[in-house]
């Protein structure tokens, strides 16, 4: 479906792929006896687009939640940029440059597009509460500076015309785009995308694909992607990891995975 994607772009990325930035070793996670993830290991390399696929309930979102500290696995090690991390809160992950979007849109409904994306700059803003109250000197300067950054993101995502609209009033596809914008505003080095194209029509998907590839390309951002659309996944991913019932059943380049009999049986098999 996405075969019209320029092949050169993909090729270019592959060339830039670097060292392992995130290494997950033997991760197990359970909720009150219910196993969500069992002994999963895989790694993510710098600048690559790494996809996680699998049927519903395979534990894909849980995997992302483990990566950015929303869930704490009972077993296993997580190495980020070579450093092992213990229990970590999500905001610490954010401070280390991990940003993400959510499966069910998690925008701040009461706020405008601009404000939503501005929250992505939060970590980079240093002024205190008193300075904000005065809105004078450094606070104003800071606000303006970050506003410029945010405007760049808005331009990049082509959502200039809706910047002052409350996000609750936007159609689904645009909301997904704003959510991506909020994550991008944080200038992450690792971007986790949880089904960014779910529920979109073809045009919207194409737009979203283009944004993802551009982010990867222009900013060199490493991306971990969960997506159901096999065409998209196979087209834009560098490597794919396949989960089923909380277990890893496949890992490798798209073509390898596509031909893995276990994957075909467990994953593609179920969709027939």
């Amino acid at each position: 479906m996405m075969n019209d994607m320029p092949q050169e772009a993909v090729q270019e990325q592959t060339r830039r792929i670097g060292d392992v930035v995130l290494d997950l070793q033997n991760i197990s996670l359970s909720f009150g006896g219910v196993k969500a993830l069992t002994n999963i290991s895989f790694d993510v390399r710098e600048h690559e687009i790494r996809s996680i696929i699998g049927p519903n309930g395979a534990g894909k979102s849980s995997m992302l939640n483990v990566i950015n500290g929303v869930y704490h696995p009972q077993e296993g090690r997580i190495l980020f940029r070579g450093e092992e991390r213990r229990k970590m809160e999500p905001h610490v992950a954010a401070a280390q440059g991990i940003a993400r979007t959510f499966q069910n849109i998690a925008l701040f409904k009461g706020m405008s597009v601009l404000d939503n994306i501005m929250t992505g700059r939060n970590l980079k803003m240093k002024c205190g509460l008193l300075a904000h109250a005065m809105f004078w000197g450094p606070a104003q300067k800071e606000e303006i500076e970050h506003r410029k950054k945010v405007e760049e993101v808005i331009d990049f995502l082509e959502i200039q015309s809706i910047r002052k609209t409350p996000v609750g009033r936007l159609p689904y596809g645009l909301q997904k785009r704003v959510e991506l914008g909020r994550a991008l505003a944080a200038e992450p080095s690792l971007l986790l995308l949880d089904e960014p194209m779910a529920g979109m029509n073809v045009e919207e998907k194409q737009d979203m694909c283009r944004f993802i590839l551009d982010v990867n390309d222009q900013f060199g951002t490493t991306i971990v992607l969960i997506e159901h659309d096999m065409g998209v996944v196979m087209d834009i991913s560098d490597r794919v990891v396949v989960l089923d019932y909380g277990k890893k059943i496949g890992d490798g380049a798209p073509d390898e995975v596509k031909n893995n009999p276990e994957v075909i049986a467990a994953y593609l098999g179920t969709s027939h």
């Binding site: 905001h91 009461g110 939060n122």
Partner: protein, 355 residues
């Protein structure tokens, strides 16, 4: 036709980030401020100043405080009156115990006391949410009032726990007439309202709203829920505290801890719900509505039924109408008076060509 933003272009982000980006709003705001600071003192009677305008202003400030916590940061609180009490008794003690304490400093220190207490009682918000938190804030309400009655130090060993506000003097000028007290209150409230407006439209305010709308997502983009919630509690309590100090110094003069009852907390909550959640403007509208409505009902009932209806029944009827109107308002405009204002403004923007 007057309310038109066509032709106003923002050439820089500074211009776009003003409090009132639309010129007419700015003019309107200055006109309102000028009216209330210049015209009202000349025409308002002592009754209007002392019994209506001063309390409306003070409650507006308290409502802004609660709105910061409940409206912007999404933490429901039923203890605002207690934080007002902390502010009042705090300011009183600073004035009493430190010679030559400037009034404004005492006001702010009183607010800071309330902020500290607010942080302490805000700690549970890190673990509990919603109505559980709301009921938990009742602990603050009852405990603080109890402590102020119980420990005579707070009221300078007064036999009855009542404090009597000292004279208010700023730079040698004594604020002892209704007009001067009104102007002082207006000045303090206007300044703090503007500061609040700034707070809620910058990073601090965005992190509050982010925590309110979706706390997990907020944390994931790097907002620390603890810092956001506790800063909301602190700022909110600070505002309530300053309002409480004004309540003692420019409104009642003498206050007792029991005056800051749960009933008052509910009234402040009504103000933000009726006025408009997450709206500074709404805080003012709500405060005016909740202060004026019972008075209006009382006056109206007397005018209509004096002598023909038993007084007890008339008073109960006022209560019934008050309760009924609250429910009616919630049904008709659950987003409060501020939303009506907003809708009015949008209509005006389009008028006379609605399409």
């Amino acid at each position: 036709m007057l309310y038109r933003e066509a032709g106003q272009f923002k050439a820089s982000y500074i211009e776009d980030q003003q409090i009132f980006p639309i010129r007419q709003d700015k003019i309107g705001f200055i006109a309102i401020l000028a009216f209330f600071s210049l015209v009202v003192p000349m025409i308002a009677s002592e009754y209007w100043l002392q019994a209506i305008l001063i309390p409306v202003l003070i409650f507006s400030l308290a409502a802004i405080g609660l709105n910061i916590l409940t409206g912007y940061a999404g933490q429901l609180s039923l203890g605002s009156a207690a934080f007002m009490a902390v502010g009042a008794f705090g300011a009183y003690n600073f004035m009493l115990r430190i010679d030559g304490m400037p009034f404004i400093a005492a006001l702010i220190l009183g607010g800071l006391c309330a902020a500290l207490v607010g942080i302490a009682f805000g700690l549970p918000s890190l673990r509990i949410k919603g109505f559980y938190l709301a009921v938990a804030t009742l602990a603050a309400q009852f405990f603080i009032v109890w402590a102020l009655v119980k420990f005579p130090w707070f009221s300078n060993n007064s036999t009855s726990g009542v404090i009597s506000a000292q004279k208010v003097e700023i730079l040698g000028f004594a604020f002892d007439t209704p007009v001067s007290k009104y102007l002082l209150t207006l000045a303090v409230v206007a300044v703090f309202a503007l500061l609040a407006k700034n707070l809620v439209r910058t990073t601090t305010g965005r992190s509050w709203m982010a925590v309110r709308d979706m706390d997990v997502a907020a944390e994931v983009i790097g907002i620390r829920p603890m810092r956001a919630k506790l800063s909301a509690f602190a700022v909110s309590s600070f505002y309530c505290g300053v309002a409480g100090a004004l309540y003692a110094y420019t409104y009642l003069g003498t206050v007792e801890p029991e005056g800051f009852s749960l009933d008052l907390s509910f009234r402040i909550l009504f103000m933000i719900i009726i006025g408009g959640v997450a709206s500074i403007m709404g805080s003012f509208l709500g405060a005016a509505f909740i202060v004026l409505l019972p008075i209006f009902l009382n006056v109206a009932m007397h005018a209509l039924f004096a002598g023909t209806m038993p007084a007890g029944l008339a008073s109960n009827l006022e209560l019934i109408i008050f309760g009924g109107l609250i429910i009616f308002f919630l049904i008709v405009e659950p987003h409060g008076l501020a939303r009506l204002w907003q809708i009015g403004k949008e209509k005006l923007r389009l008028w006379p060509f609605p399409h």
